[in-house]
């Protein structure tokens, strides 16, 4: 039952906070269990969704389709991992518990977000996930985290206000906020300035939320300053769900593909891909580099979406999933490095691959996956995006996308060179591998990357291409 995915976190939060001391210790297992349940659920419904028969739902969250189930799976995986990271890095027990509660709420928000088919409910859950993230980012109450949280909060609030204004305009137009009704009303008046303004406001809000250039100002700061577990969650899934998923969903279901939306997505996608990669190239803070890389990868998703073809959309969703996996993995690695060495400044690190072999190898896999090196999962999604662009006639963008993967590789090689793959730097001699709480999820994610990558040729027909089956 999809509704459970929202209700269970709520129940968990309520139950765990009953004034019984031992309950606090159950929070972590509960979170893991919940994530596992969600993953199992998503995997369970995925084949049926892909086969084209949406699961019938008895309660109010009544929508399941391939896109939703893929996202549910991604949310579950990232949440699972970030709980591990939380355990490894949160420090104080009380704070860990508090943060765990917020993770529950954020997950509930994201689950709700992918399950609803109503604009206003979408806003509510989007805001829920966002608020939980603001607080999580600031959770350590260190200056950086506060700064990142504040920037995120302000820009995100602006974005939601724009979306709400758009909702109000659309409400006036259609008298409803459900996807179907709004889509109908939009189609009736597709070219009117009023409608376009509403559309523009909503898209603008979503673009801010997804951190697309030039709406991305908050993103590098929030990602890099957040506590390790939070940046894992945030980069891996929160902004992807609140921004990118919502964008995909709304463009597909509500706004529809017009030449204008295509053009828009292409332009902003291309800017993000290139500028994000360029900015990442010059970073010395590991997490900040990953943040810019995130912007760049979101650009790819947008490019894939912009084709409007089944292949392109499927590729975009697949890339979204892959991005969740490899970016989470990278942030876990960053957390491991930060925890073991006490710094994220790449200029003070070096040769960690020898000292932290698991972190080194998994980071390598994640990077290659991001850069689109076969046979990892990221290669396939990038290949499909480029292919979709090319086949749709956007040759220039295809070339750009493929060229930017060179930049991607370039900055990741620079990261590898400075952090993992060089001589062991003075001061790093006594570094040891991070504990199981960080290596285990790394291995899990790396296994997913490799597994999906190797199995993809057999999965593409049954799982990937039906994703666009709306």
């Amino acid at each position: 039952m999809p509704s459970l995915l929202v209700i269970l976190p709520l129940l968990a939060v309520l139950l765990l906070n009953l004034p019984l001391n031992f309950l606090r210790r159950l929070a972590l297992p509960a979170a893991l269990l919940l994530a596992l349940y969600q993953a199992a659920f998503a995997l369970g419904v995925l084949p049926a969704c892909c086969a084209g028969c949406p699961t019938q739902e008895r309660w109010f969250l009544n929508a399941l389709d391939p896109l939703t189930s893929v996202l549910l799976l991604a949310i579950a995986i990232v949440a699972f991992v970030s709980v591990f990271v939380l355990r490894a890095t949160a420090g104080e027990e009380r704070r860990e518990f508090n943060m765990l509660n917020l993770v529950f709420l954020a997950v509930a928000g994201m689950n709700g977000l992918v399950l609803v088919r109503d604009l206003f409910s979408l806003y509510v859950f989007l805001e829920l996930a966002s608020i939980a993230s603001f607080i999580l980012i600031a959770a350590h109450r260190e200056m950086g985290g506060l700064e990142g949280a504040f920037k995120y909060l302000v820009m995100s609030a602006l974005a939601t206000m724009m979306m709400l204004a758009s909702i109000a305009l659309l409400l006036a137009l259609s008298g409803s906020t459900s996807f179907g009704a709004v889509a109908e009303a939009l189609q009736a008046h597709a070219r009117h300035g009023y409608v376009l303004t509403a559309l523009g406001l909503f898209l603008g809000g979503l673009l801010i939320k997804s951190g697309v250039m030039p709406f991305h100002g908050w993103l590098p700061d929030a990602y890099s300053a957040a506590p390790a577990a939070v940046s894992t969650l945030l980069a891996g899934i929160v902004t992807k769900v609140t921004g990118v998923y919502a964008l995909i969903r709304l463009v597909l279901d509500v706004f529809g593909f017009t030449p204008a939306t295509q053009q828009l997505l292409l332009i902003f996608g291309a800017i993000s891909v290139v500028a994000g990669a360029l900015a990442a190239l010059g970073q010395s803070d590991m997490k900040r580099m990953l943040a810019y890389s995130s912007i760049s990868q979101v650009g790819y998703i947008l490019l894939g979406l912009a084709t409007g073809t089944g292949l392109g959309i499927a590729a975009a969703v697949f890339h979204l999933f892959n991005h969740a996996i490899f970016k989470t993995l990278l942030f876990v690695n960053a957390a491991a490095v930060e925890k073991q060495t006490g710094t994220r400044d790449m200029n003070q690190l070096g040769g960690l691959a020898q000292k932290m072999p698991i972190t080194g190898v998994t980071s390598l896999l994640a990077m290659f996956s991001t850069a689109g090196v076969p046979p990892l999962a990221g290669f396939w999604s990038k290949l499909l995006i480029i292919a979709a662009l090319w086949l749709s006639g956007f040759h220039g963008y295809a070339l750009l996308g493929i060229g930017a993967s060179l930049l991607t590789l370039a900055y990741f090689l620079s990261l590898q060179r400075r952090v993992f793959f060089g001589l062991v730097r003075a001061g790093c001699e006594n570094v040891r591998e991070a504990g199981w709480a960080l290596t285990l999820p790394s291995l899990l994610l790396a296994a997913i990357l490799v597994g999906v990558g190797l199995a993809l040729p057999w999965l593409i027909g049954t799982f990937l291409l039906p994703v666009k089956g709306f």
């Binding site: 600031a138 506060l146 909060l153 006036a172 259609s174 906020t177 900040r288």
Partner: protein, 104 residues
Amino acid sequence: MNLVSLVMPFGVFVALLAAVGLYCLIVTRDMLRVILALEVITKAVTLLLIVGGLVSGHMALAQAFVITLIVIEVVVIVAAAGIVIAVYKHTGTLDIRRLRNLKG
């Protein structure tokens, strides 16, 4: 003159209110005033929602939205205030220009 022309001025005023908020959001250096500016924008949007309900005739729906919005708004403001106060405890100032440690 019909209902539409009746609500027409609302549209303009909503935009003006939002403009005031946005302007302040951009030019102010005071973090608390940033929150105030957000509040002003929120007021504009709230009004727009009500007007939307009025125009489409779904006033109940609009009211439901506004109530939810107000609740969420409060939480956002609380969170924002919490962050601002924490920043103040660190730096002793509310100057937004002090929030420029993360750059590049």
